[in-house]
């Protein structure tokens, strides 16, 4: 069919096309590349009807595409919306009665279709949600009891809450997806007027398959799955925790229910207790009314923080049968976080940063220094080997602690605001110069600029060497432990340590 005829046909059957939209909210139009295959009005209407979810349900579940192509009712007259509706009803009725006829004649067994689909693709827990390439990890929830209060499939089952089924692999023929619609009592099944006997047969078949597959034990555990070792009386047990898409759906529903309950409660409180004033006509009252409704939220607020966690990537059906909004949106629960240390940030504005060495650190350093001094080749040198020996043990511990302190201070300084008169300003270089009597040192500038390169390493080496020279004192003579050669070696060792920190 060429473009012009197709465009004309689409105009003629606009009503039918509007009725045959697919998708969960019935907004996806019939795709053009399907319509192009039509040769006459009859096949055009057939393609439209096949796209309607109710009719598509029969075609996919009972593989009736060929039968439907030969037995579809005649095309409705053009431009008649009522006739289009009647045409679709006639399609559904003919499919429904054909399914019943086949079932009575023994040509079609819905129970067998359902049980084969569930045996092939059904599962509760699936390794696909851990890694979409993981195979052979599909387990049904066991019929075991629990006395523990935790939320698990066992405690849910004890309260009569069924875990929604998931898929262990994608069924390309679309049979399993439609069996799931029947099991979940989807509105589509009622709209398709599926006979009650067919629904009962499908449910019985699925239940039989779940029971049968529940006994299934995989012989291999995929290397893509996690394995946790749990201690037992005889040694250890390797356990692979599996995720359940149905669990995600239940959590998502529960979160929405809590949010909706809160929303309804807030609306009840927001309603004025006295009877509303008689409405006056005019622009002014209208504005006030509009403002009143605008201040009230129109949909539930999000009480739970949801983060995007893209399991299965862009194509979620590779991992799970459930929608991305349930599977890829976990709830996030925060824990207490330490407040930013404002005192440290504000005191940094007026005073330069100082290094404090603890007594334990100084004692350990003195012990290290005494050991190094005994070896002439190292104690009297600042060669590469001597620096390498120095850059370890007590000095390394001191350097790492001070470096971490500087990094933390730098992070705090970059986050905190400084109250400068009436306004709050961020802490930067200009503020330090304005507030301090002496210009800020090189180390202070590195911290406020958040630059931790060569300048920072040199400044830290200087600061740490000075601090050690000042604080590491020989207890007998009260003289500094460090000589000029020691200071040079230590300074190089600090830079070396910071390069790899």
């Amino acid at each position: 069919m060429d473009q012009e005829t197709l465009a004309q046909m689409k105009l003629d059957y606009a009503g039918l096309l509007a009725l045959c939209k697919s998708g969960s909210s019935r907004t996806t139009p019939v795709p053009d590349d399907k319509l192009k295959k039509a040769v006459d009005p009859h096949s055009f209407c057939l393609i439209c009807a096949s796209n309607k979810p109710e009719i598509d349900f029969y075609l996919k579940l009972f593989s009736m595409q060929d039968w439907f192509a030969g037995h579809a009712p005649p095309a409705p007259p053009r431009g008649d919306d009522a006739a289009a509706r009647a045409y679709l009803d006639a399609c559904i009725d003919s499919l429904s009665s054909e399914v019943m006829r086949r079932m009575d004649a023994g040509q079609c067994d819905p129970a067998l279709i359902a049980s084969e689909a569930v045996l092939d693709c059904g599962t509760h827990f699936s390794g696909k949600l851990i890694h979409s390439d993981a195979n052979g990890a599909a387990m049904f929830a066991p019929a075991a009891g629990t006395t523990q209060p935790h939320v698990s499939s066992r405690s849910l089952a004890a309260r009569g809450i069924r875990l929604p089924l998931d898929q262990s692999k994608l069924d390309n023929k679309g049979v399993y997806q439609r069996v799931i619609k029947v099991l979940n009592q989807d509105a589509l099944v009622a709209q398709a007027r599926v006979p009650a006997s067919v629904i009962a047969a499908i449910e019985a078949g699925a239940a039989r398959a779940i029971k049968q597959a529940g006994q299934r034990r995989p012989s291999v555990v995929d290397h893509r799955l996690r394995q946790v070792l749990l201690p037992t009386a005889e040694g250890y047990l390797a356990v692979s925790p599996l995720a359940a898409g149905g669990w995600c759906v239940l959590a998502d529903q529960a979160a929405r229910a809590v949010e909706m309950a809160q929303f309804l409660q807030e609306q009840d409180h927001a309603e004025p207790p006295e009877s509303p004033q008689p409405k006056k006509k005019g622009r002014k009252t209208k504005d006030i009314a509009a403002n009143d409704t605008a201040s009230q939220p129109k949909k539930p607020r999000r009480l739970f923080e949801r983060l995007e966690f893209p399991v299965g990537g862009a194509i979620v059906r590779n991992a799970s049968i459930h929608p991305a909004r349930a599977v890829q949106n976990p709830l996030y629960f925060g824990v207490p976080q330490r407040q930013v240390d404002l005192r440290a940030a504000w005191s940094f504005v007026s005073a330069p940063v100082r290094l404090f060495l603890t007594q334990a650190e100084l004692e350990k350093f003195a012990a290290q220094h005494a050991q190094i001094r005994d070896y002439d080749s190292i104690g009297q040198s600042s060669s590469i080997t001597a620096v390498g020996v120095q850059a370890s043990g007590a000095l390394a511990a001191i350097v790492y602690r001070q470096h971490r302190r500087m990094m933390e201070l730098s992070a705090v300084v970059s986050e905190a605001d400084y109250p400068n008169g009436e306004t709050r300003v961020s802490i930067d270089e200009a503020l330090l110069r304005a507030k301090r009597s002496e210009p800020p040192s090189e180390l202070d500038l590195c911290i406020v600029r958040r630059s931790f390169g060569a300048e920072y390493r040199a400044a830290m080496a200087q600061a740490i060497t000075d601090a050690l020279y000042r604080c590491a004192i020989d207890k007998k003579t009260q003289a500094p432990l460090l000589r000029a050669i020691d200071r040079e070696r230590i300074s190089r060792a600090v830079e070396k340590l910071l390069e790899s920190a």
């Binding site: 698990s152 849910l156 995720a243 990537g313």
Partner: protein
């Protein structure tokens, strides 16, 4: 009884409790890491219980602006393996991960006296909830009072799962309980087996293997200065089996057995 406090900093620890709950509270991993520490130390510590004190957490979550609103986004990383379909590693697919940097203090009650340097060195070579241990400073005490007094700040972590008992819908009860009190956080506190354990090809270290599901319970964070008086040996965290469910808990009155009995 001897007591050890470990001030631990770990980065890149996992926040994933199960697929739909993220929280930077790896309690199960922490208790079992202390079991591993006990086994790795030469001669063993004779671990009797673990106390968990939360200090700080920095989740890997960025707040990005989207149409005037701040949107929280998890920091993901790209896979390391170059695929044929990707021209360069920057096109590699994102690997879903939820990470956090943690600062915890862990209290151990042990039968034997530990050597602080050995404990520290062992910890630095271990993983903590899948993350790297950046630093661990270990102190040993002879009584619990002294050990607790040395911990100046932080939040004592309790198992609060009992509030879920008897609810009509455990899932709804979990979310409502979380909102009804300050600092109640859902977390994975155990695994329930989906099948009896069996030898299986590909199992770790050729141990018997079983597939399992998560058991999501509730934690309660109490400031340590309020909790300090109530802490005793009885409410330290311990682990064990309830039939074929492996649990970590510090609820008094829950009896756990060292052996697994399949119930399916």
């Amino acid at each position: 009884m001897n007591y050890v406090t470990i001030a631990l900093r770990a980065s890149k620890t996992s926040m994933l409790q199960n697929l739909s709950i993220l929280s930077p509270a790896p309690v199960f991993a922490a208790v079992m890491a202390m079991h591993a520490l006990d086994k790795k130390i030469h001669g063993g510590l004779g671990l009797q219980g673990v106390g968990l004190i939360h200090q700080n957490a920095q989740p890997w979550i960025e707040h990005l602006e989207d149409k005037g609103y701040l949107q929280s986004e998890i920091v993901h990383r790209r896979g390391a393996v170059l695929f044929d379909s990707a021209p360069d590693p920057s096109q590699n697919s994102m690997q879903p991960m939820a990470l956090a940097d943690l600062e915890w203090t862990i209290l151990l009650a042990c039968d034997r006296v530990g050597n602080p340097a050995e404990i520290e060195n062992t910890l630095l070579n271990m993983r903590f909830a899948g993350g790297d241990v950046r630093s661990a400073s270990v102190r040993c005490f002879e009584d619990m009072d002294g050990a607790l007094r040395s911990i100046r700040r932080g939040f004592w972590i309790d198992d609060d799962s009992d509030v879920l008992a008897g609810a009509d819908d455990p899932m709804a009860a979990l979310l409502q309980a979380q909102r009804s009190a300050p600092w109640r956080v859902p977390a994975n506190l155990g695994y329930a087996l989906l099948e009896p354990p069996a030898p299986r090809k590909g199992a770790r270290d050729a141990h018997p293997h079983a597939f399992a599901e998560h058991m999501i319970g509730l934690l309660r964070y109490t400031p340590i200065h309020q909790a300090r008086e109530t802490i005793s040996l009885a409410n330290l965290w311990r682990y064990g089996w309830d039939a074929d469910q492996f649990l970590v808990t510090n609820r008094p009155g829950v009896s756990l057995s060292p052996a697994c009995f399949p119930s399916i």
